[in-house]
């Protein structure tokens, strides 16, 4: 069995700050990290591998620095890693991203045993784009079933899986489906383990990150990168803060009284 894990390198955005003078993002010193939910994906793949004979393959599309994210996946225990990198992939929206990822998975499957079973694991969403679209679009392109927002997962037998999908705040649906399948995981599914020292050494000395460009994937330029995208960014802006901002003054009692008065005028009471 093959387990593909799609990982994206993202800016560790909890540290993104806005420069109040210029209203721009301060990017200096922001580390790039593996999208947190994708790490949960790697952890799940490794857990399946403990139970079944399986090969864990990490795939990422991004600029050459994304190799670091793949090395980290290898250090955690992934067996192989592929980096889809080419200027022609740049500017991809989710349609174009999922197309490139699909091409790479098809290629890897083509080069392996015929009819080998496989599972694809994605994070439910990436913290930069936050779209949650790449997973389902990838599943659609490969014409396989999907289960998104997964918080619990179990291989039933060699042919099917059972997963818990969170679909409302109060409700969970338990779904059974057949392999091959794509699942997208939530962070509560597990706690990713840190790589071991020997894992890290292996990742750099024993294992490889294979780079694939548009040509290696035989990609039609009309469906990748900017040109293959249907959506386009038209404008980017820093969110404005609304409101009239009246600061109340006086003692605490006076301020409380005034606030109640204002809220009464505003017909809250």
């Amino acid at each position: 069995m093959k387990i593909f894990v799609c990982i994206k390198q993202v800016p560790g955005i909890s540290e993104v700050k806005i420069d109040p003078k210029t209203n721009t993002l301060i990017r200096e010193g922001i580390p790039s990290i593996i999208n947190p939910m994708d790490k949960n994906g790697i952890e799940l793949a490794l857990k399946i591998k403990e139970e079944r004979e399986a090969e864990v393959i990490a795939i990422s599309m991004g600029p050459s620095q994304a190799e670091k994210a793949l090395r980290e996946a290898l250090a955690m225990g992934a067996d192989r890693a592929f980096l889809l990198t080419d200027r022609a992939f740049a500017g991809a929206d989710t349609l174009a991203t999922s197309h490139a990822l699909a091409l790479s998975i098809k290629k890897i499957l083509n080069d392996s045993k015929k009819d080998e079973k496989y599972i694809i694991i994605c994070g439910t969403q990436a913290i930069d784009g936050d779209t949650a679209q790449v997973g389902p679009e990838l599943a659609e392109e490969l014409q396989i079933p999907q289960i998104t927002y997964v918080q619990k997962f179990e291989l039933k037998d060699d042919d099917s899986i059972i997963a818990e999908r969170v679909f409302r705040t109060e409700e969970i649906v338990v779904i059974e489906t057949k392999l091959p399948v794509l699942i997208s995981v939530l962070k509560q599914i597990n706690t990713p383990k840190y790589p071991t020292m020997s894992g890290i050494i292996d990742a750099y000395e024993q294992k490889e990150v294979t780079k694939l460009d548009a040509k290696a994937l035989n990609a039609d330029k009309a469906f990748i990168g900017l040109t293959g995208s249907q959506t386009e960014v038209w404008k980017i802006f820093i969110p404005e803060r609304k409101g009239e901002h009246i600061k109340l003054t006086g003692t605490i009692e006076e301020m409380s009284r005034e606030l109640c008065q204002k809220l009464k005028e505003d017909k809250i009471f």
């Binding site: 955005i13 909890s14 993104v16 806005i18 210029t22 993002l25 740049a90 500017g91 929206d93 989710t94 349609l95 999922s98 936050d130 779209t131 949650a132 679209q133 389902p136 679009e137 659609e140 392109e141 999907q146 818990e164 679909f167 409302r168 109060e170 409700e171 969970i172 779904i175 059974e176 489906t177 057949k178 009309a222 469906f223 900017l226 040109t227 249907q230 959506t231 386009e232 038209w234 404008k235 980017i236 820093i238 969110p239 803060r241 609304k242 409101g243 901002h245 009246i246 605490i252 009692e253 301020m255 409380s256 606030l259 109640c260 204002k262 809220l263 009464k264 505003d266 809250i268 009471f269």
Partner: protein, 401 residues
């Protein structure tokens, strides 16, 4: 496909640098230069005041859709236990507005089993037409059946805009439908508008954890699809209107889906309904402890309000996950939102900024929350809240006289 800077035109003003979310432009010797980090997103093209940045897209001989053949706005309803999700009503309100600008019909699409007697209700929400796809199995949500039915319907009827709630269900089928139709899809929008000239849908959404907003459009293809965050738009006032109902029966069998629903589990705990609350009192790190959170609850009880919290309050286990307001929590728009001991990080603000009135209680007069609040009280919440409760009770007592 490339991005180019026309050195003749570039004045080195730097507005492109400010617009770039990837830090991919530098000013060297008074001219803009594109660096390795450029993601070709094109935000700088719009930002440039002298049209010195040119984004060139190669044109390929792919089948292009004839945009003029697509007309009308669709809202796809999600339901559970035979109740249509609130976000569908909210989308009908916004959808009506957009449909009036475009002078087209607004259509509600329901895939379900037991809605025959409920369809009339929608004649109050601005809908021109309902397409009701009926099949016993559609009582529950099945990814593959939704995708099949919707892509068939869309291909046949050619709506120009499709709006879907950005719920786990909407975000499960919408991308697959978009992929099958090779249509553009914008996720989790918080603002929608029409560019009247091109009829393009302008879709605004937060990215980078809400730190920046992006307006996205889908100029070259149709339909334009968007999932929209629940709680952003208001449910419209009820006004009766003539509607047309189209019922389509599908004869699906269980074997038509590859997935099987084993069971649906409802968590027992009664959860809060922040999205519908009229008043919310929220606490953050400034509350200090789980014990102290009682004071927030007391203020909420006095106001007949729901209790919310910042992510920090949730992470410290002072309050349950379901109560979190913000980017990764709920988006709320009550009539009154009182933020107590919350600093006002942008991720929190995006979840509550649409509230009618925002009150902030914070001891730090420079806390960013005061920039969003309509009324601010600088002070220790442990002293302010009890005093406020007293005053509210007084006002209430006066009213009953």
């Amino acid at each position: 496909m490339s991005i180019r800077i026309d050195d003749e035109l570039c004045t080195g003003c730097g507005s492109c640098v400010a617009s770039c979310p990837y830090g991919g432009i530098e000013i060297i010797d008074d001219k803009a230069h594109i660096t390795e980090d450029c993601n070709l997103c094109g935000a700088c093209v719009e930002a440039c005041t002298v049209e010195a940045i040119i984004l060139e897209r190669e044109e390929f001989k792919v089948k292009r859709v004839d945009i003029s053949k697509y007309k009308g706005i669709w809202v796809i309803a999600e339901h559970y236990k035979d109740k249509i999700h609130d976000v569908a009503y909210q989308l009908l309100g916004k959808g009506r507005e957009l449909a009036d600008i475009l002078k087209v019909n607004l259509t509600l699409v329901i895939l379900g089993a037991n809605f025959d007697n409920l369809l009339d209700e929608f004649s109050y929400y601005g809908v021109d037409e309902i397409i009701y796809v009926k099949s016993k199995i559609l009582k529950d949500y099945y990814s593959d059946l939704y995708v099949k039915v919707l892509t068939e319907l869309i291909s046949k009827n050619k709506p120009e805009i499709i709006l879907i709630g950005a719920t786990p269900t909407g975000r499960d089928f919408a991308p697959r439908v978009a992929k099958r139709l090779n249509a553009g899809l914008t996720a989790d929008c918080t603002g929608l508008d029409i560019d009247a000239e091109t009829r393009n849908l302008l879709q605004t959404r937060p990215t980078f954890g809400g730190n920046i907003m992006a307006t996205i459009r889908t100029p070259r293809s149709r339909p334009q699809m968007a999932t929209v965050r629940p709680g952003i738009f208001k449910t419209p006032e009820k006004v009766k209107k003539e509607i047309k109902i189209r019922k389509i029966d599908y004869d699906f069998k269980e074997k038509d889906t590859v997935s099987k629903i084993v069971k649906i589990i409802t968590k027992e705990k009664v959860t809060v309904n922040l999205e519908e609350a009229e008043i919310i009192v929220s606490g953050g790190r400034g509350v200090g402890s789980k014990e102290n959170f009682k004071i927030i609850e007391e203020l909420a009880t006095t106001l007949n309000a729901e209790v919310g919290g910042s992510r920090v309050a949730v992470e410290l286990n002072w309050i349950d996950n379901d109560h979190q307001v913000g980017q990764t929590g709920k988006t709320v728009s009550p009539r009154l939102y009182i933020a107590c001991g919350i600093s006002g990080a942008i991720q929190h603000i995006v979840g509550m900024q649409n509230s009618d009135i925002i009150v902030a209680i914070n001891k730090d007069e420079n806390a960013p929350i005061f920039k969003t609040a309509h009324y601010g009280i600088v002070g220790d919440l442990h002293k302010v809240i009890p005093s406020l409760i007293k005053e509210i009770k007084k006002v209430r007592a006066e009213e009953t006289i």
